[in-house]
Symmetry: C2
Subunit: 193 residues, 2 copies
DNA sequence: GTTAGCATGTAAGGAGTTACATGATTTT
DNA sequence: AAAATCATGTAACTCCTTACATGCTAAC
């Protein structure tokens, strides 16, 4: 999944926002969070932290050395600049916000944004997925291919998954708007691209 | 989505196995096929084709120049060596076969393998996903975190998606084994959190 | 005639993985 | 005492994306 560079940064800022942490733990949390794909390696986390340090987005915590036998570890926390950057990134609306990986991160930290932003991101994500469905359906209609059993099943399962995702988003959008309505309301027919 | 290098190669071999094609069309088909994520760019397809040419896995088709006004395009087809390589790759069992991207490709071309291989890949994939669920459930149980509304929802949705995927695989496995049984058999109850 | 889509490519650069390296601490 | 896990890092390499570059052809 591409475009992790900014993604890692955002995720780290978000997590550190919930309390200081050292690299090893950040990695575990990160993997738990976006771990539905591949795991994040040290080789990409530590350099990213170094870079963020250089950019003054985070800083090392000089914790009170109360517990004597502390293991060698570096605890980080966000700086004011880091907080600004975090909120700036979270306020972004546009493709960057609703691509696969990025979306999950934004969503994870939705509590840190306004409802207005949340709605725009959710809706952006939904129409992104809708576009995919339309594209596939269109292209599928054009080229009526000889149907391989497995190819067809994969296609079907893919479409179904994305449709489920769209319904999920619709529910979330309704919840944002109407307080707590749980019913999946009929969406306004998306103005096809 | 890492490890595309080999993935693209396998996908191209598979598609060309269904008939000669030129790069532009390969790209379209590829995107339709694994296009639930990001799109494949020319910058990675064409170099990959060049490389496969060098390795004699594919060759340019010298088509009969019947239709005079043919547009500048290069049509490829698999060589014997390419066919061998394709079957070799499809017969691989092991992690490489059931990682996210790779799995989809294998599955797409399942018709080109034995049932034995198919079963092993499907089962490998399933236990891979099961592992993920277990890991998340375990780690979730250990660290009872203060529950952020959105973080919790993301977690829930993620687990649900993977569980659906597991059921899908179970159905496929049953279908492979028992001829045509469609019933979703009860899975061993997942150790709930 | 001009826009949109077909068709192929290259160069630079970013992002992350793998493998390597090291050592402390806790558990068995 | 050994094994597992905590903890941090670096270097080389792979792979892919972005942006650039070019030109044909069909449709409007």
């Amino acid at each position: 999944m591409a475009r992790r560079g900014e993604t890692i940064e955002l995720a780290v800022l978000g997590l550190l926002h919930e309390g200081p942490m050292h690299g090893y733990e950040l990695r575990k949390r990160l993997n738990l969070m976006l771990g539905w794909g591949r795991l994040l390696s040290y080789g990409s986390l530590y350099p990213a932290l170094k870079k963020m340090l250089r950019n003054n987005l985070i800083e090392e915590v000089t914790s009170a050395p109360s517990t004597a036998s502390r293991r060698q570890r570096i605890t980080y926390q966000v700086t004011d600049k880091g907080t600004d950057e975090f909120h700036r990134l979270m306020s972004e609306v546009g493709p960057a916000a609703w691509e696969d990986d990025n979306f999950d991160i934004r969503f994870r930290f939705f509590s840190s944004t306004d409802m207005e932003i949340r709605l725009r991101v959710l809706e952006g994500r939904r129409s992104r997925l809708q576009e995919r469905l339309d594209r596939v359906q269109r292209e599928l209609a054009m080229t009526q291919r000889e149907v391989d059993r497995y190819a067809a099943e994969l296609q079907r399962h893919g479409v179904e998954s994305v449709e489920r995702e769209v319904r999920w988003l619709s529910d979330l959008i309704n919840a944002e708007r109407g307080g707590e309505r749980t019913t999946t309301e009929e969406q306004p027919p998306a103005p096809a691209t």
